[in-house]
């Protein structure tokens, strides 16, 4: 095993969500802090797809932004190719690593400048570094399944799926090694989603790319990824490969998430709907954050937060993971 391309250690991000200074004084309010990401660690080996799943507020997008460098971590380290981007002082090194990271966003309507021609949009990552952009856009457009003539058009002339292809072409322009994809197909229809996912798979093979794939859609994640991290309230609660996770989830939250996801063969299925909702991240429950919704919660869970530990070929943060595994073995 070579060193992983991306290594995330103890990553934490705290947002200050306090009211303005004057209100705090008048209303005698304390400072409010929202812990969006807390002590998350994982590695992504080269040419693999690592997926982060979770519901809204689980911190998955915040992690994505910190990996790209759009946000600085409050604590912990993100290192890409062995370089810690937030602390590295050698500008040449930072520059070299930066050009190896690109990002694809969820909304293909908001992430393309409507006043720029597609040619300029795609060439920008290279042009910004003073590289040669002659014919680059045309070549990339053909690679993502559009026509070279499309380079002269504006974004509004394309459909959602085609725009997402343009975003992908732009991400490929600087020949990156890592692409962070934040819900790349959530805004797309099913048949278009299939086209874009297939394209991403093909490009990964062709260019030897590594993806950090962020999504709330379990079926997409199961299809795309080599390893999946499940997030709950900013913490990694379980990490496993897709088969292990989908066949035998060990964390009660993963089990709840998987059983409540609608299934194509679930005709008239009566699921016991999950209890409760994600708690307020400003005042998270004591101990394990999932304990108010967990069927296996005990006093230990309310008092002490479980650490992420190895169990068979997965990592799981639950005091009762063995028991949960036993309970989850019932017919699906």
């Amino acid at each position: 095993m070579t060193a992983p391309l991306v290594s995330v250690q103890g990553l934490t991000r705290i947002f200050d969500v306090s009211k303005p200074w004057l209100n705090r004084v008048i209303e005698r309010l304390p400072k409010a802090r929202l812990t969006a990401v807390s002590d998350v660690s994982f590695d992504i080996p080269e040419r693999e797809v690592y997926a982060l799943v979770g519901e809204s507020g689980s911190g998955k997008s915040t992690i994505g932004k910190m990996v790209v460098g759009l946000l600085n971590p409050s604590g912990g380290v993100v290192s890409v190719e062995g370089v810690d981007l937030s602390r590295e002082t050698d500008p040449a090194k930072v520059e070299a690593v930066r050009s190896d990271i690109q990002m694809i966003f969820q909304d293909p309507f908001a992430s393309l400048n409507p006043r720029w021609k597609v040619r300029d949009i795609i060439a920008e990552p290279v042009a910004a570094r003073g590289g040669d952009t002659e014919g680059l856009a045309e070549r990339l457009l053909e690679q993502v399944g559009l026509a070279a003539e499309d380079a002269g058009k504006f974004p509004h002339e394309f459909s959602g799926g085609q725009r997402q292809r343009i975003c992908i072409a732009r991400a490929l322009a600087s020949e990156p090694k890592l692409i962070v994809c934040d819900e790349p197909t959530s805004a797309l229809d099913v048949s278009v989603q299939a086209q874009v996912l297939n394209l991403m798979t093909d490009l990964k093979e062709e260019f030897g790319l590594t993806y950090l794939f962020i999504s709330h859609d379990l079926t997409v994640v199961q299809h795309m990824s080599d390893r999946i991290g499940v997030l709950y309230l900013g913490r990694l609660v379980e990490e496993a490969d897709p088969d292990t996770l989908f066949e035998r989830p060990a964390h009660p939250y993963s089990q709840m998430l998987l059983s409540s996801a609608p299934r194509m063969d679930g005709f008239g299925r009566e699921v016991e709907p999950p209890k409760g909702e994600i708690p307020d991240p400003i005042n998270p429950p004591s101990g394990c954050a999932f304990n108010p919704r967990c069927p296996l919660a005990s006093d230990l869970c309310r008092a002490e937060r479980p650490e992420l530990r190895h169990l068979e070929d997965r990592r799981v943060a639950c005091h009762h993971a063995e028991k949960a595994l036993g309970a989850g073995a019932e017919p699906a």
């Binding site: 799926g161 194509m264 709907p273 999950p274 909702e277």
Partner: protein, 327 residues
């Protein structure tokens, strides 16, 4: 069939534009019976929301019903105007939209919104209305309903808001509920709660539901029958199990196969080439033929196939022959 709550017959919605008259809904016919959940699926632009809006008379101008009929409980409602239609809406048809925040008035307490709806449609006193509002909130699973009735919409989470919207849609005990993407803005675990709530309430009250969504999984779990729409037309209509597992229309078949769920363990998803045509540029013949793997001359030449001119299940000249049938 006489026991249908809603009966839509050859509905055509037109939008006149400078260049041409567009038809976002083209000769759509279906019925929903008492206590039945009809799923309407399709990709964006297929006309599924437009069909729902046409039924409740909420088409934005210049869109209008050009022809066809809408019957609700044996009464024709597509020609009703102003006040008459307003009495039907809310009283006989309840609505649940995608975004719960925009369907609630942010300036009114939810209790007031519920009582207002009931007072407008039912002959009850204000105290009785309030009592029923609490009961309605209780029924959709809002904890401590009696104390939360005076809260404002922003004090609820997304899932709780959608419960309030469902309570609002059902409080006048309508015979039909149109739910337009009711769970699209919600998380998976909350989605499961809302779907099971909708199913339970409709079973208990015998309400007919038109569930518009793009999520096949939701349809599979909730609907009794499914209508698949493509480019404003019905592509397929049938019992949910048959449509999902033994699709007859090539579009339905492709759609089902392109969901990641259906192609487990394969490195590539099956994809339908191309994308849905714009309404202004519909091809002649069957609207799906440029993307169809089985298209023949007849598909390109003859007028668009309809359910009733084909086998009643799929609007296709050459429906997919299922392996099961051959065996």
């Amino acid at each position: 069939m006489t026991d249908a709550v809603l009966s839509v017959r050859d509905l055509v919605v037109e939008i006149p534009t400078r260049h041409a008259v567009l038809r976002p809904v083209d000769q759509v016919s279906y019925e929903i019976e008492k206590g039945e959940i009809l799923g309407v699926v399709g990709e964006s632009g297929a006309g599924k929301s437009m069909t729902g809006n046409a039924v409740i008379g909420l088409l934005d101008r210049p869109a209008r019903i050009a022809s066809g009929e809408v019957w609700l409980n044996g009464r024709r409602i597509d020609a009703l105007k102003g006040d008459a239609m307003r009495r039907v809406r809310g009283r006989e048809i309840g609505m649940v939209f995608q975004d719960p925040l925009t369907s609630l008035n942010p300036l009114l307490q939810i209790g007031d919104q519920l009582t207002e709806t009931m007072l407008a449609h039912l002959d009850i006193s204000e105290t009785e209305g309030r009592k029923r509002a609490i009961a309605a909130l209780d029924e959709v699973g809002i904890p401590a309903a009696a104390s939360r009735i005076d809260s404002y919409p922003h004090e609820f989470s997304g899932g709780m808001r959608q419960r309030v919207v469902i309570a609002l849609a059902l409080c006048a005990e309508p015979s039909l509920v149109i739910a337009d993407e009711p769970t699209t803005a919600l998380d998976v675990s909350v989605q499961a709660q809302i779907i099971s709530l909708l199913k339970r309430l409709c079973r208990e009250r015998g309400t007919a539901v038109m569930l518009v969504t793009h999520d096949m999984g939701v349809i599979a779990e909730a609907a009794d029958r499914v209508a698949v729409m493509y480019a404003g037309r019905l592509a397929e209509l049938g019992p949910v199990r048959d449509v999902i597992q033994r699709a007859r229309h090539p579009y339905t078949e492709g759609l089902m196969a392109s969901t990641p769920l259906a192609s487990r363990g394969q490195t590539r998803l099956r994809q339908i080439p191309g994308s849905m045509p714009r309404l202004g540029a519909l091809p002649d013949g069957c609207a799906f033929h440029p993307r169809c793997p089985k298209a023949q001359d007849k598909c390109r030449r003859d007028p668009s196939p309809r359910l009733d001119t084909c086998d009643g299940r799929a609007a296709c000249w050459y429906p997919v022959e299922q392996r099961e049938a051959a065996e």
